[in-house]
């Protein structure tokens, strides 16, 4: 008897530990997490890490090549841009903006999307129909096009671009939460909660929502990548952040004129966008493999 209990005890694993065992076996997810942590580190310690101010103009050092090229200057590691700003410092501060952008987009779209998705899935019927038509309407607009429409109404700017991209991102959250909520609604624990007289609000948020977390967490990770990519695209089109903000999308747009003479001005900001987006996509994929019970061994 005694030994039996102990055996059971050693078999038990905390869900988080169980999650980590699966997650850490996924190399892609770990690489993604490493990319993200790297950029978070840059974002948090930007003032300490960047050798110059991102807006400081060096009048006698325009478009210097990176320091490891001929003609480079050791104090400007990645060289300078067309008005003499240190590229490395701007890239580091750009991490701050991109991470902030990703967070805000996800925060806005996930909160609105989760609320609407829970309502659609839990109430069903007319509420569901209405919310799903709203989703259909948003989905009829290709993502960048809808964001452009919103920005053209609200005016260009970083914050408006974030709101626009968050609106675009809502449907995927609504659909994912709705699908899980519809499944959960039929289960017995919801029924039990209902018989105890719990309010709809309580059932939705403290009963159903925790059980929709797995797909929601995956979508949050993917939401970061889509959000960062779309806001950067708007910046590139001149509809997002405005100069002199050190945002990677505008930095790319500004560098277009020097594409043949100074290709590194184009290459580096784009690589930053690629690695951040790739990081969140890798993480999202890894989370899906780990959290989705259907794929579990």
């Amino acid at each position: 008897m005694q030994s039996n209990i102990e055996e059971n005890k050693s078999d038990y694993e905390h869900p988080l530990r169980d999650f980590w065992v699966g997650f850490s076996a996924n190399k892609g997810a770990l690489i993604g997490l490493a990319f993200i942590l790297f950029f978070v580190f840059l974002a948090v310690f930007a003032p300490l890490l960047s050798p110059h101010s991102p807006s400081e103009l060096q009048e006698n050092a325009l478009r210097l090549p990176p320091s490891f090229y001929e003609g480079g200057n050791a104090s400007f590691f990645f060289g300078t841009d067309d008005v003499g700003r240190d590229l490395l410092s701007r890239l580091i501060y750009g991490a701050r903006i991109s991470m902030g952008v990703g967070f805000l987009v996800v925060f806005l779209s996930a909160s609105v999307g989760t609320l609407l998705g829970l309502m659609a899935g839990y109430f069903g019927g007319k509420v569901d129909w209405l919310i799903m038509r709203f989703v259909d309407i948003l989905m009829a607009f290709p993502s960048i096009l809808l964001a452009i429409v919103v920005v053209s109404v609200m005016g260009p700017g970083l914050f408006n671009a974030i709101v626009a991209v968050a609106i675009v991102a809502c449907p995927s959250f609504i659909r994912i939460v709705r699908a899980s909520a519809m499944e959960e609604r039929k289960k017995q624990y919801v029924m039990a909660s209902k018989t105890f007289g719990a309010s709809s609000f309580r059932i939705m948020f403290s009963e159903i929502l925790p059980n929709c977390m797995a797909p929601l967490i995956v979508q949050i990770s993917l939401g970061f990548s889509d959000g960062i990519l779309n806001v950067a695209a708007l910046g590139f089109l001149g509809l997002g952040a405005q100069a002199p903000t050190p945002e990677w999308g505008i930095m790319l747009a500004d560098a277009r004129a020097f594409i043949s003479s100074d290709p590194w001005l184009v290459t580096l900001p784009g690589l930053c966008i690629l690695f951040v987006v790739l990081g969140f996509n890798l993480l999202g994929d890894g989370l899906r493999d780990t959290l989705d019970p259907r794929l579990k061994k």
Binding site: L145, I148, G155, T267, G270, L274, N281
Partner: protein, 338 residues
């Protein structure tokens, strides 16, 4: 199945109404006076102001404005561009073939490479090749195409001098508009008689880089989709039966496997129309491709609201109708739906 299709058709009505409302409010939600905004530096001559207000129908009550907007849209009248003074529909259809040609080439490129790679990855599951390919497809999926296009230009146009940087065709050639597709129009008898194959080759060389830039994300999506769809199908009973019958492996993969794996892939291809437009907006801006993407971005910068309104309405309606058509096709080709 009939019920499902009927339900989809009924749901279409509120969706299209919502889309039209959204397009309708593009002009009207702009903070401040839209007419003043559009007149901009041309000054505020009261006569011009009133005239424009009347032309846009902004002097009537909002409900009757929406009513006439709906009726005019149905008649195919989306107003006139403030910049070119031409009809929005005329401008749209003048540019649409360029976007469609580029989009089809991009999808062709994506399918031509993505589907075979996906099949190979599925057949060599968990091999190094499989991991490499799936990692690569995730990189492709994460690609900021506005950067990717510029990198392609740096490598192939600036560095190697292989392809032109921008435009649809060399300015030397004057191609008559027959279909609007340069790949077709440059092969018309009169062009062939006058210039030979040179215009056609020029058109192709202008298409290569934008097609790669625009096709990269669809390629990544298709490769991943094909792989998972193939893996699913290859585990089915009828594949085991085919193997048990001793059919050649190639035949099993290509005929029994691929044909069934293609059903979801075709669906995804159809649903990619929306992302093609997104791709077009960015790709056309980079390569100065004279299609609707570049046109829309230019209109936004010029505050040409009738164009934005009309273009948005057009594209959204097309996306909705194409998605509906894809659902219909899916219902017809997928035996499980019957």
């Amino acid at each position: 199945m009939l019920n499902f299709l009927l339900k989809r058709l009924i749901d279409l009505v509120p969706t299209l109404l919502g889309v039209s409302l959204l397009a309708f409010f593009v002009i009207r939600l702009v903070p401040g006076d839209p007419v003043m905004l559009m007149l901009g530096e041309r000054g505020a001559d009261p006569k011009v102001y009133q005239e424009m207000k009347r032309e846009l129908g902004l002097d009537k009550p909002i409900l009757s404005q929406y009513q006439s907007f709906l009726i005019n849209s149905f008649r195919g009248d989306l107003g006139r561009s403030l910049v070119s003074k031409r009809k929005v529909t005329e401008e749209f259809f003048g540019r649409f073939p360029a976007t469609l040609e580029l989009g089809l080439c991009a999808l062709f490129f994506a399918a031509l490479i993505g589907i075979p790679l996906g099949i190979l990855a599925a057949l060599k599951r968990n091999s190094f090749f499989d991991y490499f390919l799936m990692g690569g497809s995730l990189v492709g999926y994460s690609m900021p195409i506005f950067w990717w296009g510029l990198i392609l230009i740096i490598i192939f146009s600036v560095g190697l001098g292989l392809t032109p940087v921008s435009g649809r065709i060399d300015v030397l050639y004057d191609v008559p508009t027959i279909t609007g597709f340069y790949l077709v129009d440059t092969l018309s008898p009169e062009v062939l008689a006058e210039e030979g194959l040179a215009p056609f080759i020029s058109a192709i060389s202008h298409l290569i880089l934008p097609s790669i830039a625009m096709g990269t994300i669809p390629l990544a999506v298709l490769a991943r989709m094909t792989r998972s769809s193939m893996l699913e199908v290859m585990g089915e009973d009828y594949i085991r039966t085919a193997k048990a019958k001793g059919l050649p492996y190639k035949k099993i993969v290509l005929i029994h496997g691929l044909r069934n794996a293609l059903i979801p892939i075709i669906t995804v291809l159809g649903l990619m129309f929306g992302s093609i437009i997104t791709g077009a907006i960015l790709t056309e801006t980079i390569f100065s491709w004279p299609g609707i993407g570049k046109w829309l971005v230019a209109s936004i910068n010029a505050r040409d609201y009738p164009v934005i309104q009309g273009g948005v309405l057009f594209i959204a309606t097309m996306v909705v109708l194409i998605n509906l058509a894809v659902d219909f096709v899916y219902a017809v080709i997928n035996p499980k739906m019957r």
